[in-house]
């Protein structure tokens, strides 16, 4: 390490940091101003949240575009990466916040009981969660990653428990908190061991040290233990089998818009962090971690899809399906581990695209679940609650059907583009077994989506069923999700032509 007597303050590129600053400032402003003023009219908190996230997203888009002819670089003495891989994820995170805040306010307006409690805390937490996630996805340093993870996780714990009327929400919050804290411990221990071996917490620095050491391996057991602990800790966050057990309960218990937020923003943050860590910091040990990722991917794909089809609650179904989708993202990571193959660079990009495209589907799907469960007693997310919805709300049912078919991977939807990307990466690196297993598990999971579709279209509605009422914000967010699904499904070139998504990392 560069030990210097004089402290040289890092150069701070304020513009490059502006997405984080906007998110933080928005959160603080909302918290302070909201606390000092009487309750705002309905939807105003949401609007401010969406505007803040939107502004951060716009800045991120501009920076992303500027990187077209700039070299990626690291910020603040190398702790944050300013590259297209990270910025693309930041853009997606901001979109997730915008859609989630619209959903949250719509959920509130469609339910008078909730409307009285349309409080500002969840919105502040949405913004802080986004800040944590943005730090995670661009972090180029293990300690900063950890900071980001904690900011995100603590916001999520509170969000999960934020429905004060339901005990399942409290339970979800507590479960998430205990298991999340547990996994953070693993992660921290892993960071410590990796630091102990390499003397570095900087991802680029670790890579340099390890590359030097290839000929003379030192402290191999300690390093591998560290890598394993890192993998375990992040596997909790991504909810990979066998570290997934919290997912169904937490997804089920949390307020539905929070579940959508976890499945989108939480997934993006965790997966992107995982991919960046392994691809940037540990390429020299790819032969060591690739088999572990392979096993995790297979387990996640198979267990996620098989357990998904035996559920009878739509929220739990979608929770398991999100686990199975995480398996697909790992397929991309596994491909990225084949360093000898020229196609390895496709792996990281395909994982990134998968998680971003999936997050849109998850947001839309959980939004529809929230709308359906808002009728009647307000909490019923069982499959029966979806019976015959196509009769009363055909357009709504069609939208949800498209989102489900996209998750099943039917062509001309974004879900298929995502699947095709990872399968292509896997096949390019000759991981045929993984590719076929992934596709077969997708078929198993398709049964789950068909069950929901059957319930909506082919089952008779319950005699006392009322039509689903959807507020304007809900309509807009749902339309946005469906439009994205279709447009990117038919014209995937919009995304695929973006260069440097999975290559040219800032180090």
């Amino acid at each position: 390490m560069d030990v210097s007597a004089d402290f040289v303050p890092p150069i701070v590129e304020w513009y490059a940091l502006s997405p984080y600053i906007v998110l933080l400032a928005g959160a603080l402003f909302l918290l302070v101003a909201g606390s000092l003023t009487p309750r705002w009219p309905r939807g105003w908190y949401a609007m401010l949240t969406a505007l803040t996230a939107g502004a951060a997203g716009v800045v991120a888009v501009l920076q992303f575009a500027a990187l077209d002819d700039e070299e990626p670089r690291s910020l603040v003495k190398g702790v944050l990466a300013h590259d297209r891989f990270g910025l693309f994820a930041v853009i997606a995170l901001c979109v997730a916040v915008v859609i989630t805040s619209m959903m949250a306010s719509d959920n509130a307006t469609s339910d008078t009981q909730l409307a009285e409690t349309d409080s500002l805390e969840p919105y502040v937490l949405l913004l802080t969660a986004a800040l944590g996630a943005a730090v995670m996805v661009t972090s180029n340093d293990l300690l900063v990653s950890f900071l980001g993870i904690e900011i995100l996780s603590i916001s999520m714990y509170v969000l999960a428990a934020s429905d004060r009327r339901r005990s399942t929400s409290h339970e979800a919050g507590l479960k998430y908190f205990v298991l999340g804290g547990f996994s953070s411990a693993f992660l921290l221990y892993g960071i410590a061991l990796v630091y102990g071996t390499t003397g570095q917490t900087n991802l680029g620095g670790i890579a340099v040290v390890l590359a030097d050491e290839v000929t003379v391996p030192r402290n191999d057991a300690m390093l591998l233990a560290g890598v394993a602990l890192l993998l375990v800790g992040l596997s909790f966050k991504v909810s990979l089998v066998p570290f997934h057990s919290w997912t169904p309960d937490v997804y089920h218990g949390s307020p539905t818009y929070v579940t959508g937020f976890m499945a989108s923003l939480g997934k993006i943050a965790a997966v992107v962090t995982l991919v960046r860590l392994f691809v940037v910091a540990l390429p020299a040990r790819a032969d060591d971690w690739r088999p572990a990722v392979f096993v995790l991917a297979v387990l996640t794909l198979v267990v996620g899809s098989v357990l998904a089809i035996v559920q009878n609650d739509v929220k739990r179904m979608l929770a398991y399906s999100s686990i199975s989708h995480a398996g697909f993202m790992l397929v991309g990571l596994e491909a990225a581990g084949h360093l000898g193959s020229p196609a390895a660079t496709e792996g990281a990009a395909s994982s990134l695209l998968y998680v971003v495209l999936y997050s849109v589907l998850a947001l839309g799907s959980f939004a529809t679940v929230a709308m359906v469960s808002a009728r009647g007693d307000g909490n019923s997310t069982s499959l029966d609650a979806f019976r015959g919805i196509a009769k009363s709300n055909p357009v709504f049912a069609l939208g949800f059907t498209l989102l489900l078919l996209a998750q099943a991977g039917v062509p001309l939807t974004s879900g298929f583009v995502a699947k095709f990307g990872v399968i292509r990466a896997a096949v390019s690196t000759e991981s045929y077994v993984l590719a076929i297993l992934a596709m077969v598990s997708a078929v198993v999971a398709a049964y789950l989506y068909l069950r929901i579709i059957v319930s909506m279209w082919l089952a008779e509605p319950a005699s006392d069923a009322q039509p689903v009422r959807i507020g304007i914000a809900g309509r807009v967010s749902l339309a946005l999700a469906v439009a994205t699904t279709l447009i990117l499904g038919v014209f995937p070139s919009i995304l695929l032509d973006l260069k440097d998504l999975g290559t040219n990392f800032a180090r």
Binding site: A343, L405, A408, V410, P411, L412, F416, K419, F420, I423, R424, V427, S428, Y432, A435, I436, M439, V440, A442, V443, A446, Y447, L450, V454, W457, L458, P492, S493, L496, D497
Partner: protein
Amino acid sequence: MSSSPSFAGLVGNTVASSPSSLGFPILTSLVVVPLLGALCVLGFGRMRAEWNRLVALVATITTGALCIWTLQAFDSADGGFQFVSHHEWISAWGISWHLGIDGISLFLVVLTGVLFPLVIAGVNPHHDERQYLVWLLMLEAGVMGSFVSLDLFLFFVFFEIVLVPMYFLIGGWGYDQRVYAATKFFLFTMAGSAFLLVGIVATAILSRDSVGEITFDVVRLAEEGSFSVTAGRWLFVAFAIAFAVKVPLFPVHTWLPDAHTQAPTAGSVILAGVLLKMGTYGLLRFGVYLFPEASVWARPVLYTLAVIGIVYGAISATMQKDLKRLVAYSSVAHLGFIVLGTFALTDQSLSGGVMQMVNHGVSTGALFLLVGMIYERRHTRQISELRGLQQVAPVFAGFFMVVMLSSIGLPGLNGFVGEFLILIGSFDTARWWVIVGTVGVVLAALYLLWAYQRVFHGEPDDANRGFAELRLREGLLLSAFVAIIVFTGVYPKPVLSRIEPSVKSLIEHIESRTEYRQPAHEAEGE
């Protein structure tokens, strides 16, 4: 050979007034017109209920007319791809919108174009006509797309997208076990597609070196691509699994009887008429054309499965109590013949196979229509509950008889031409399998004639005495089918002359790439 000269010819060949030089994207419009129809029905349908059917009919008839025009404009001397349309789509992945037809796909396209207006005009759904028509039109777009695609990715997209409308048609308008049957259909086909997708990607990636770039263009992959023997065989297996489910070949045929039996009449007609052909067509276009070495290698297995399908399908059909299930199992048997002919790899057997794809679509489609009419009148399909219909509805019985005889393969009707060509063409290359397969022809006569005897002969009991005679609309519909049956049976030359050049060039393609040589026999070239 088969395609690159013609493809090059398309660009320069303006003198010969090649149809494709008209500049009208005829194949694209075959896909787009039904899709537009679906959107129109979806958009305007709420205003006047009667318009739905009108719009749907206009869309399908336009498509049908375009198909007929294609048939007439098709250059029967050219064995390559015609009416080619080629545009960039997803350039980052080497995927293009590449359409074209040759003698092999031509008649499947025409069959699709003709069947859809007929079923829309001829069969009414029992409820929710608007949605039903939307799904049917989307189905037509998907089926057309899969028959005209010359890009593997594009083909896969259409191949998969077809599942969705068919799923909803079976699940929404079918009979008692419809949800079970629809789900089984969807999952079986999708399981096959899992292998197909991996196979497609691997094909493109593995031929990167020989082609020079990653492309999903079938023509380029077939002409320029080369694989190691092992890789080619594995890829062929992946493709074959997907198409075997779709055909369906024994032992993955079990979804078919359920899907056929539970589907509404129109669904059964389309399923038998064109959807199953996507499997046999896929085997021919993507299996044999892309992997000549592997298809020569895999022939014994496919012959065996095909022959098991022929005999097993026929025996199962004999045992059925449900008339519709009987017809469904007869499909398994008939498609066995097509697969046998496809992989026997002689001019005659392949031409017969292609011909039989069309014939089976027409005859079995018509049989399903007739069974549907019986069900509408009697609300049962149980053979034991039907008796003596010939006395009360002689015209109906007459139509049934003609269609049934065509399915059996009576000389003079279309079924004979295809089956005979397959058997005679395969005799050189697959002798013992043909001998066993011929039993299937005899069994076909057994199960169909026996069923006819039980349903139409004898004295009608009280329940069957009220069986209504054929109505005018039904009569016109069936006449169209019978006209095709008789015409192609008596005068198959216009059909065969368009199929043969493409089949010949396909066989030359195989011979140029493998040790395989078509057995020479005196009859050739007469």
